[in-house]
């Protein structure tokens, strides 16, 4: 990328690309459907009635706008920049995922689809999908890696309570990437009636752009709220990136504000030296998987590697294509944060603010804890608290227990 674009907010192009990233790398069986979806999405986004429906459900069902909260005790403890948390963990279902699910299920119904499928990692997207399917009375099948089913048992139970069928996927390592393969296999066999409700800003065009647009409510609200509360734009905005939907939702409305620095935080797992991490942007290379070209964790033969993170929601070897482009243009910086630091940040927020963050935003918080002390009191950081930590209590307890035992 030799030239700086006039705007960072114009992508994707008509081929669904952000620079070289994105595209439509899918089997022919799915192509007519992808083109239909693109057309339906183009129509819907121009329809004021569609926007009004989303806004109404946003207010009365999700609980939008979510608060922007000045975390005073956390800021004092870190002793630097003033830290604001965008409280998307207070949404119905406990994470930002519902923003996208409401938008897509309305679109699915506009398209006349009668069956919804989804993939899930941590289970947050699965729960959000099962929720909107219950709300609109559509059958729902959620593909989830067997390993994730084990470590996210409460969310599995929630999905079943909501009437969804949760299908365990044992292929590969039994995590998010394998669940996505299985969802694609279902879709290709049931193209007529089925809508694939992808949970992150990845996959074939138009998904990355569409999911971003549904999630941009986060950044749009944040922009208005920070201007009201602080009278100016933040110096830094930070979010965790797995597939990258909460991050692109927060970042996108700020991309053309040069005074705002933007950082995405990847899962550094147990360190970038080996393979036990999910830092596709920091340690991966461009490749093609799940319908798009993007940064991937892969070996020398182009085989996809299994990622690792303490957070099931970040445990994906790829990343949304727009993030790959934002990395290459230099507009957004991406940094890894490891399991240990995320665990420490989880406890820090519990102790200082009385908030249990999900392990995904705990990664973002760990980076905030690193940089806030190097900034002045007059500076502002906004971080997306994209999910609540209730689902992770058992994982955190087990990890802390193991560390106590190790120390003894």
């Amino acid at each position: 990328m030799s030239e700086r674009p006039n705007s960072f907010r114009n992508g994707p192009d008509e081929r669904g690309r952000f620079g070289i990233f994105g595209g439509r790398f899918v089997a022919e069986t799915l192509m007519p459907l992808i083109l239909d979806l693109e057309k339906a999405w183009d129509d819907a986004r121009k329809d004021p009635a569609f926007a009004a429906q989303i806004a109404d459900l946003g207010t009365h069902y999700i609980g939008r706008p979510s608060p922007l909260y000045y975390a005073e005790r956390l800021s004092d403890e870190l002793g630097g920049a003033r830290i604001y948390l965008k409280r998307d963990e207070l949404n119905h279902t406990g994470s930002h995922k519902i923003n996208n699910c409401i938008g897509q299920i309305l679109l699915a119904m506009r398209m006349g689809k009668t069956r919804i499928i989804a993939e899930t990692g941590a289970g947050q997207h699965g729960v959000a999908t099962a929720t909107v399917c219950a709300r609109f009375g559509l059958p729902c099948v959620v593909y989830m890696g067997a390993k994730d089913i084990e470590r996210q048992a409460p969310n599995v139970f929630r999905m079943r309570l909501l009437g969804a069928e949760v299908v365990p996927v044992t292929a590969g390592a039994g995590t998010l990437k394998d669940a996505m393969n299985e969802a694609l296999r279902d879709w290709v066999a049931n193209v007529e009636n089925t809508y694939y409700l992808i949970g992150t800003a990845a996959g074939p065009h138009p998904y990355p752009a569409m999911v971003r647009d549904f999630q941009s409510v986060i950044g749009t609200e944040t922009r208005t709220q920070i201007l009201e509360m602080a009278g100016r734009l933040p110096d830094l905005v930070v979010a965790a990136v797995g597939g990258g939907s909460n991050a692109i939702g927060l970042f996108h409305p700020f991309l053309d504000d040069p005074s705002v620095a933007i950082t995405g935080v990847e899962a550094g797992g147990e360190g970038l030296e080996g393979n036990l991490h999910c830092a596709s942007l920091t340690a991966g290379s461009p490749g093609v998987l799940h319908g798009n070209r993007t940064y991937l964790l892969q070996d020398g033969d182009g085989q996809i590697l299994e990622g690792h993170s303490i957070s099931a929601g970040l445990d994906y070897p790829g990343i949304g294509p727009e993030h790959s482009w934002l990395k290459e243009t230099g507009r957004v910086s991406y940094v890894p944060i490891g399991d240990e630091d995320a665990l420490a940040a989880f406890q820090l927020l519990a102790r200082t603010e009385g908030i249990l963050p999900a392990l995904e935003p705990a990664h973002a918080l760990a980076h905030v804890a690193d940089v806030a002390p190097t900034m002045g009191r007059d500076q502002i950081i906004v971080m997306n608290l994209c999910g609540r930590g209730d689902k992770d209590v058992h994982t955190v307890a087990a990890a802390l227990d193991a560390r106590v035992q190790k120390a003894n």
């Binding site: 790398f25 290379s285 182009g302 085989q303 996809i304």
Partner: protein, 271 residues
């Protein structure tokens, strides 16, 4: 004339359909795989498709997924796949070889490098499942330029509006996927397939091969009556997987011989 065109010409003159067989490279191991390829041709395969192992075969059913995993565990890779083609070409310079798989290993190697190695090894065509016509400049056009056929899949979802795009840069033959779904699962009705093939034939002069869900010699025969070739993959891969230790080559040859007989006798029975 390319090996693929030559072979389909010969089949046409013989008045019969061809048998296209699929196996995954390096399944169950590299040496056995080399022997299986030779065995396929001996047993009556007219075209050989070799699956390039990939960790995430999104369009494949359980049988071919498992084959990919076995192959990777046995040291399979794109390099090994190309080596297997080279070895096969030492004893057989006529049977067309088509590599089938997913784009990432090719992209990661570099398209230009891959095409050079593939043509040098004796590959005749490519089927890359996750490259629709919308992405033709990635590999399809460079491959055609390098003299390789780029074989595209048409599916039950390929309607009249879509078909010209699918056919535009397709060469060698057209692969009609008889069901909307993954490999090796349901099978289509021969009558539906016949109608679909006729429809495709009004738009292209390319031979039409039909696959997905063809498992038995009698199914193969019924497809052979209405199409230019029959593709069988999962059933062969399954036979390799279920063969006792040391019997994989024989198991593959046995099923392929039976399929070949079904295909060869099909039109005689019909006539």
């Amino acid at each position: 004339m390319s090996r693929i065109a030559t072979r389909f010409d010969a089949l046409h003159r013989e008045g019969r359909a061809g048998l296209v067989t699929f196996v995954t490279a390096a399944d169950p191991d590299i040496e056995t795989s080399a022997a299986i390829l030779v065995g396929l041709a001996e047993a009556g395969a007219d075209v050989i498709e070799i699956g390039m192992p990939f960790t995430d075969p999104m369009a494949d059913g359980p049988a071919i997924q498992a084959a990919s995993i076995r192959a990777l565990a046995a040291g399979g890779s794109l390099t090994v796949t190309l080596d297997l083609v080279r070895r096969f070409r030492r004893s057989d310079n006529e049977t067309p070889i088509v590599l089938m798989g997913y784009y990432n290993p090719i992209y990661h190697r570099g398209v230009a490098t891959f095409l050079e190695e593939a043509t040098e090894a004796g590959v005749d065509g490519l089927i890359v499942v996750d490259l629709p016509p919308e992405e033709d400049d990635e590999l399809c056009l460079p491959a055609r330029e390098a003299g390789l056929d780029f074989i595209r899949l048409a599916t039950p979802t390929t309607d009249e509006k879509r078909l010209p795009a699918v056919l535009a840069n397709t060469s060698g033959f057209l692969y009609y996927v008889s069901i909307a779904g993954i490999t090796g699962t349901a099978s289509a009705m021969a009558s539906d397939v016949g109608a679909a093939v006729q429809r495709l034939k009004t738009s292209t002069d390319l031979p039409v091969a039909v696959g997905f869900g063809v498992k038995t010699p009698s199914q193969a025969a019924s497809i052979a009556r209405v199409a230019d070739a029959v593709v069988v993959g999962s059933a062969i891969v399954d036979a390799i997987a279920k063969a006792p230790e040391g019997e994989a080559v024989n198991a593959a040859k046995t099923i392929v011989a039976a399929l070949a007989k079904g295909v060869r006798d099909a039109r005689k029975v019909a006539a």
